[in-house]
C-alpha cells in the first residue's frame, strides 16, 4: 500500500492532488461504494452500470470466487458454496447464528467465530466479507482511475450502530484483508444522518430508523450548527429483512405441508419468498410458485394482509429498542423533529405505518434508503482523507452502543464504560492482588447490558504478567480501557506503586489476532462437523436440569412464601419436566421448562420482593 501523504489538518490540498477515499456500505443483502467527486457524493457503478452489488460470494473448487450478481444467479444451484448474508456471521459464534436449521451451509464451530466449509476450503466470515470488499475496491478503482494505476487513500466502512466490539473488529479485519486502509468504521444510521442532515440543513432532534437486511438500528441524534451528536443508539443485531423472508418461507412450507427440504430447495424457496415480499410492497397479493428438486410443485398465494399479519411481531420487535433509545437520550416522542428511514426493509408499508404511529408523524423518505448510508460514508471518507473544504467544518460525535464491563466474583459483571458514552472514551479501574507474591492476574472483558457474565458477550481475556511481588492487596494495578472513535477497545495496565508497566496478553474470545489474519488464506482448519440438532438437545437438557435445581432450592429456602396448593402445582410441573429430560426432542423439554417458568412466576416475584426488602431493611437499621 502506498504511504499516506500528510498535510496539516484543516488544510485541503490543491484539487489535482486530492486524495480519493471511498465510503463503503457493507450490507447484509447488498453492498455499495461511493465517493465524493467535485464536491458531490455519488455511488460508483460497476462496468455493468450497477451500483448495488449483491453481498453474495460463490467459491469454486479451484479457489476462484464469483461475487455479486454472478454468484446470485447460481445460488439455488450451489447453495453450500454460495454464501449469502455473511454479515450475520461476523464476529459470531455458532450458538449466536439464527435459523441454523434452514441454512444450507456446512458450519464449522471454531473458537472465535463460526466458519463455513466450502469446496475451496474452510472460510471465515471475515474472508468472505473481504471478497465483497475486494470487488467494491476494484469497482471503485476502475471507476476513479480508469486504466491509469491508482490507489485509494482509504475507506470508511459502515457497520450497524448496534454491532459490538467483536463484530466491528471483524469488519475492520475484512477491510485490511481486502487491502483497504480503513480510515474509520462509521455507524450506518450516523452515516445516513450526515447525508440527510447536510442535504437538508436539518437542525434539531432526529431519529434514524434503519432496518436493513439483517440488522436493526435506531439512533437519536441532535443536529445543531454543523454538529452531529448521537445521543443514544439501540437496536437488534439479528433482526432484518431476512427475517421477514424467513417468516414467509416458513408459512409457505407449512401451507404446502412440505417434507424437510434439501439445501437447494430451501434456498430456492427463500429467494422466492424474498421476491414475493418485495412485490407485496406495492401489490395486494402475490403468487409463489416453484418446482422442487423432486419434481413436486409448490403453488401458494399470499395477500399483503396475510404477510403483514405473520410478520407483525417482527415489526413490533423494532419498537422496544426505539423506546429504549429515547429513554436513554432522555427525550420524549414529541421532541423528535423528524424520522429518517434507512434500509431496504423500511419500504414495507406496515413498517412505515408502525413507525408513523409510534412517532406520531410521517417518516422522511426523501432519500434512497439503499444508498443513503454509502453516500454519508463517502462524505466522511472525503473529509477524513484531508479534503476538508469550506462547508465541511462539521463535527461528528458518536457513542458506544453497548456497555463494557469486567467479570467480578460470582460471574457478575461490573460496568466499566456505560452504553451511549460519547467516543472516544476511557475509564481506569484499580485492581489488587489476592495472594502474597502474586505476579499475574487475568481480567475478563465482556460487552452487554445484562448482570451475568454468561448473558453478555465475552470480548477478551487479558492476562497481566510482571506484577512486582508484594503482600496481598498491596499492589495497585491500574487498568485502562480505551475505546477509540471506531468503537474498538484497547486495554493497557500499569502497577501504580512501582510504575511497572504490566505486560498484557490478549486472547480475544471472538475476532482474530493479527497472526490469524496472516495465516487465514494459507490454512484451512479441519474441524469435525458439529451436529447442530444434538447440540440444541444437549442445551435444553442442561437448561432443564438447572431449572429443576433452582426451583427446588427456592422452595426449600422460602417455603413460607408458597401455599400448599401452589406448591403442589409447581411440583407437578417439576415432575413433568424431569420426565422429559430423557427424551430426544428438544422442543418437548423447552415447553416443559416454559410451563415451570409460568407456574413459578408469582412465587419468584414474592422472593424478589423479600430480597429487596431485606436489602433496604439492612440500610435502615444501620442508619437508626
Amino acid at each position: 500500500m502506498a504511504l499516506l501523504q500528510i498535510s496539516e489538518p484543516g488544510q485541503s490540498p490543491a484539487p489535482h492532488e486530492q486524495r480519493l477515499a471511498v465510503g463503503i456500505d457493507l450490507g447484509t443483502t447488498n453492498s455499495l461504494v461511493a465517493c465524493v467527486r467535485n464536491g458531490i457524493a455519488v455511488v460508483l457503478n460497476d462496468h455493468e452500470g450497477q451500483g448495488l452489488l449483491p453481498s453474495i460470494v460463490r467459491y469454486f473448487r479451484d479457489g476462484r470466487t464469483a461475487v455479486g450478481r454472478e454468484a446470485e444467479r447460481e445460488q439455488a444451484r450451489d447453495p453450500k458454496n454460495t454464501i449469502v448474508s455473511v454479515k450475520r456471521f461476523m464476529g459470531r459464534g455458532l450458538k449466536d447464528v439464527t435459523h441454523v436449521e434452514n441454512s444450507p451451509y456446512d458450519f464449522v464451530d471454531s473458537p472465535g467465530m463460526v466458519q463455513l466449509r466450502t469446496v475451496a476450503g474452510v472460510k471465515s466470515p471475515v474472508e468472505v466479507s473481504a471478497e465483497i470488499l475486494k470487488a467494491l475496491r476494484s469497482c471503485a478503482e476502475e471507476s476513479l482511475f480508469g486504466k491509469a494505476a491508482g490507489d485509494l487513500t482509504g475507506a470508511v466502512i459502515t457497520v450497524p450502530a448496534y454491532f459490538d466490539d467483536a463484530q466491528r473488529q471483524a469488519t475492520k479485519d475484512a477491510g485490511k484483508l481486502a487491502g483497504l486502509n480503513v480510515l474509520r468504521l462509521l455507524n450506518e444510521p450516523t452515516a445516513a444522518a450526515i447525508a440527510y442532515g447536510l442535504d437538508n440543513a436539518a437542525e434539531g432532534i432526529y431519529a434514524v430508523y434503519d432496518l436493513g437486511g439483517g440488522t436493526f438500528d435506531i439512533s437519536i441524534l441532535k443536529l445543531s450548527k454543523g454538529v452531529f451528536e448521537v445521543m443514544a443508539t439501540n437496536g437488534d443485531a439479528a433482526l432484518g429483512g431476512d427475517d421477514f423472508d424467513h417468516r414467509l418461507f416458513c408459512w409457505v412450507v407449512e401451507r404446502a405441508r412440505l417434507a424437510p427440504l434439501s439445501a437447494e430447495d430451501t434456498r430456492l424457496l427463500l429467494v422466492k419468498s424474498r421476491t414475493a415480499k418485495e412485490f407485496l410492497t406495492a401489490h395486494e397479493e402475490v403468487r409463489i410458485s416453484a418446482t422442487l428438486g423432486s419434481g413436486e410443485g409448490v403453488d401458494a398465494t399470499v395477500t399483503q394482509k396475510e404477510f403483514q399479519e405473520m410478520t407483525r411481531p417482527l415489526v413490533a420487535k423494532t419498537l422496544a429498542p426505539t423506546r429504549k433509545a429515547l429513554r436513554d437520550a432522555g427525550l420524549g416522542i414529541a421532541e423528535v423533529k423528524g424520522v429518517v428511514m434507512v434500509g431496504g426493509a423500511t419500504r414495507m408499508p406496515h413498517v412505515q405505518q408502525a413507525v408513523a404511529e409510534f412517532f406520531g408523524q410521517t417518516p422522511l423518505n426523501n432519500l434512497d434508503p439503499d444508498k443513503v448510508v454509502a453516500l454519508g460514508a463517502a462524505i466522511q471518507a472525503n473529509v477524513l482523507a484531508g479534503n476538508r473544504g469550506t462547508g465541511d467544518d462539521w463535527l461528528l460525535l458518536d457513542v458506544i452502543p453497548l456497555s463494557l464491563g469486567i467479570e467480578t466474583m460470582g460471574g457478575l459483571v461490573e460496568k466499566v464504560i456505560p452504553r451511549n458514552s460519547t467516543l472516544p472514551v476511557a475509564r481506569a479501574q484499580e485492581f489488587t492482588t489476592l495472594r502474597d507474591g502474586q505476579t499475574a492476574m487475568s481480567i475478563h472483558v465482556v460487552q452487554g447490558e445484562r448482570e451475568l457474565v454468561a448473558d453478555c458477550r465475552s470480548l477478551a481475556k487479558f492476562e497481566l504478567h510482571g506484577i512486582p511481588p508484594m503482600v496481598a492487596g498491596a499492589a495497585r494495578i491500574r487498568v485502562t480501557f480505551q475505546v477509540d472513535a471506531d468503537g474498538l477497545l484497547a486495554v493497557s495496565a500499569r502497577e501504580s506503586t512501582t510504575g511497572v508497566q504490566a505486560a498484557i496478553a490478549v486472547k480475544p474470545s471472538y475476532g482474530l489476532t493479527d497472526a490469524q489474519i496472516t495465516q487465514m488464506l494459507k490454512e484451512s482448519l479441519d474441524h469435525a462437523r458439529d451436529d447442530v440438532q444434538l447440540r440444541v438437545l444437549k442445551e435444553q437438557q442442561v437448561e432443564g436440569e438447572r431449572m429443576l435445581e433452582a426451583v427446588e432450592n427456592a422452595l426449600r429456602d422460602d417455603a413460607d412464601l408458597v401455599s400448599p396448593e401452589e406448591q403442589g402445582a409447581v411440583r407437578a410441573e417439576l415432575d413433568a419436566l424431569r420426565k422429559t429430560l430423557s427424551c430426544t426432542d428438544h422442543r418437548t423439554i423447552k415447553s416443559a421448562i416454559e410451563r415451570v417458568n409460568r407456574a413459578t412466576e408469582p412465587f419468584a416475584g414474592r422472593r424478589m420482593d423479600r430480597a429487596v426488602k431485606r436489602a433496604l431493611a439492612g440500610r435502615k437499621v444501620e442508619s437508626l
Binding site: 489538518p9 474509520r184 429513554r327 461528528l396 416475584g605 444501620e622
Partner: protein
C-alpha cells in the same frame, strides 16, 4: 489545552456548582472541533494517539460538568472531600422511610404494568431531585462540604431509584 488542568479549567468556567449549560455545550463543540480523532485520520500515529487522549479528556470533562450530580461530586473531590458513597450509608430516617414507601409503589406499579403510576413516580422523583440540587448548591457555595457530601449521598440514592424506574419500564416493554 493541557492534560493537567481540571475539568473547569479545560472549559474555562469558574469552579462552582452554578453553570451555564448552553455555554458549556458550545465550548464542548469548539474543543472537539479542535481535538477530535476525525481531524487527524490522515495524520501520523503519534498525533492520532494524542488526539484520542485529548478528545477522551474533553468528553470526560464535559460529561462530568454537564451532570449536576457528577459536577457536585467533582467539586467535592477538588476540595479533598470524599463523599463516601460505599462506606457511609447514614441517611435521615425520614428520607429512608420515604424511599421505602416509593420503592414499594414502584414494585406495585411494575407488577401491575401500570405506566401511569410509573410516570407519576418519575415526575415526583424529578421534583425531589431539583430540591436537593438547590440545597446542594447552597451548601457548596457556603461552603459546607460535609453537609454537601450528605446531600450528594441522598442524590446518589435517588439516581439509583431513577435507574430502577427505567429498568421497570424496560421490563414492561419486553
Amino acid at each position: 489545552m493541557n492534560l493537567n488542568e481540571n475539568h473547569f479549567q479545560i472549559f474555562g468556567v469558574p469552579a462552582r456548582f452554578e453553570i451555564d449549560l448552553e455555554g458549556l455545550e458550545t465550548r464542548y463543540h469548539e474543543l472537539q472541533r479542535e481535538v477530535h480523532p476525525d481531524r487527524f485520520a490522515s495524520a501520523s500515529q503519534a498525533e492520532q494517539r494524542v488526539s484520542m487522549q485529548l478528545a477522551t479528556r474533553v468528553n470526560e470533562a464535559y460529561q462530568t460538568l454537564k451532570s449536576p450530580l457528577r459536577r457536585a461530586g467533582y467539586l467535592l473531590q477538588l476540595h479533598g472531600v470524599d463523599p463516601e458513597f460505599e462506606t457511609n450509608t447514614a441517611m435521615p430516617a425520614e428520607f429512608l422511610a420515604d424511599q421505602m414507601e416509593k420503592r414499594e409503589r414502584l414494585e406495585k406499579a411494575a407488577a401491575a404494568s401500570d405506566w401511569e403510576r410509573l410516570i407519576a413516580l418519575s415526575s415526583e422523583l424529578r421534583v425531589e431531585q431539583d430540591s436537593l440540587f438547590a440545597r446542594i448548591q447552597r451548601q457548596l457555595e457556603a461552603p459546607d462540604w460535609n453537609e454537601a457530601a450528605a446531600t450528594l449521598r441522598q442524590l446518589k440514592f435517588l439516581e439509583k431509584f431513577g435507574e430502577d424506574i427505567g429498568a421497570a419500564e424496560e421490563a414492561m416493554d419486553s
